[in-house]
């Protein structure tokens, strides 16, 4: 039983839980095709094997990745994340993004940023930023503007409350259509929320009471299905009315 012989298409492993070491794709049967590999998979000569435990997913025509939830973030280009400023140098701010290395935020990466109006961030400022460069072995680079140079809500977040979650939960909160928890909360309460793909969530509302309710509801919704989430939010709101 050690090695399960699966002759045939790689569809046999898709949507199944895989463990590091499993070989999921045989490249020798797929010459002349381009395959895009996402997180959790690596190429080993002629085969693709799994690096992280999780569910193997694929999307047509040729993308494969392993979906798993963890607490540390792997920086990826074009992700929007919440970082905490830890230091400032002459050219960059050093920002902690819950990844393997500190990220650099250039002092000029702001809308209308020049050497004369460099923003001053205290240590501990929460920043909503976009990842511009993420290469292995180098510190990631961030920016407070979108691709066309506009500010677009990036920058420091004032007031409110920030809490940490797992990467899987923050992905779920950002999924479209809107996540059931946020919809159910939004029907009864008014708040603003910023979700970073690195597992940080910021919530702000008029009263601290609303902030606490929203934060608790989100933290409880990690392992619940959609209907369970709606029921949980309803119970929470009823019990505090």
């Amino acid at each position: 039983m050690e090695i399960n012989k699966q002759l045939g298409s790689p569809a046999s492993f898709v949507d199944q839980t895989v463990v590091p070491g499993d070989v999921v794709l045989d490249l020798s049967t797929m010459t002349n095709k381009t395959i895009k590999l996402g997180g959790g998979l690596r190429q080993d000569c002629d085969s693709i094997s799994v690096m992280k435990a999780g569910k193997l997913r694929s999307s047509k025509p040729n993308k494969y990745w392993v979906e798993s939830s963890q607490k540390r973030y792997v920086p990826c280009v074009e992700d929007t994340i919440l970082g905490i400023a830890v230091d400032s140098k002459a050219d960059n701010f050093l920002v902690d993004i819950k990844g393997p290395a500190l990220a650099f935020l250039p002092v000029l990466a702001f809308e209308g940023g020049t050497r004369r109006n460099i923003p001053k961030f205290e240590v501990g400022t929460l920043l909503y930023v976009r990842v511009v460069k993420a290469n292995i072995g180098m510190n990631p680079e961030l920016s407070c503007t979108d691709a066309s140079g506009k500010a677009a809500e990036f920058g420091p977040l004032k007031d409110g409350f920030m809490f940490e979650t797992s990467i899987g939960l923050s992905r779920m909160l950002l999924s479209s259509p809107t996540c059931p928890v946020l919809e159910a909360l939004g029907k009864k309460l008014s708040f603003e929320i910023a979700v970073g793909l690195n597992g940080r969530v910021w919530v702000n509302a008029a009263s601290p009471y609303t902030v606490v309710v929203v934060a608790n509801a989100i933290m409880n919704s990690e392992s619940l299905s959609s209907t369970q989430q709606i029921i949980m939010v309803d119970n929470l709101l009823k019990s505090i009315q």
Binding site: K5, A53, G137, T165
Partner: protein, 242 residues
């Protein structure tokens, strides 16, 4: 011929296994592994930037801290730390996050024999929980040789103390693959039949050692299955974070 063991197990029978992951809130990955009464808690922090002084900055560095149940940290703990560090270095992919340190902290909750294999299993499960990239998993087992020449697996502390010699063996886990079996052979043998680590105490003959290896390999498939089922169960129901 069967020999009698105190708790009524057969020669090749393992104690009941239990594993739970994501039990510590602050650690980036955590797992507790118990084999019978031996229980070990492992926590993983990282990867964090920076490596230690004498480590190669082009690779990720793994640091192990072993905390015994009681007493001061001495030579035995340092030896366990070194064995664990070398084992984990060989299963993790070190080139993915260069110049980072991943800390693995092992806390012994109860020691009732086969402590190092239990710790290796717990550390491996904790690394999976922290999503550290790995080539494959490791499963560890303790095989002892009795005075009469029989090999028994997974001894309790009392049995360990009366043994002539014992060996801690660590094997790679069994993998599922889409490739036909032939192309997965490494040097003519299946990958699971390789061995990652072997620590022996006492005196045993070469034949006895190979006998231990065979029994250990057979038992490692059971451990592999258990680990795989445990990971599947947890995937569908992730625990709360933070």
């Amino acid at each position: 011929m069967e020999i009698d063991r105190e708790d009524g197990r057969t020669q090749n029978q393992l104690r009941p296994l239990a594993c739970s992951r994501n039990i510590l809130n602050r650690a980036h990955g955590s797992a507790s592994w118990s084999q019978g009464d031996t229980k070990v808690l492992a926590a993983v922090y990282g990867p964090k930037s920076g490596t230690k002084k004498n480590e190669n900055p082009e690779k990720a560095c793994i640091e192990v801290i072993w905390k015994p149940k009681t007493g001061q940290i001495g030579k035995l703990e340092r030896e366990y730390e070194m064995v664990l560090k070398r084992t984990l270095q060989s299963i993790c992919i070190l080139t993915i996050n260069p110049n980072t340190t991943t800390s693995v902290i092992i806390q012994v909750v109860n020691d009732d024999g086969a402590l190092l294999p239990c710790a290796i299993n717990a550390a491996c499960a904790a690394l999976v929980d922290a999503a550290i990239p790995m080539k494959h998993l490791a499963v560890a087992i303790c095989c002892c040789l009795t005075e009469s020449g029989y090999v028994i697996l997974d001894p309790t502390k009392l049995e360990e103390q009366t043994m002539k010699s014992f060996a801690y063996l660590v094997f790679p886990n069994s993998i599922l693959s889409v490739l036909p079996e032939e192309s997965l052979l490494v040097g003519g043998e299946r990958m699971e039949h390789g061995i990652i680590t072997s620590v022996t105490h006492g005196v045993m003959s070469v034949d006895d050692y190979f006998h231990c290896l065979e029994r250990g390999r057979a038992a490692s498939t059971k451990l592999s299955d258990f680990l795989r089922r445990n990971l599947q169960r947890h995937q569908t129901n992730p625990s709360k974070a933070g």
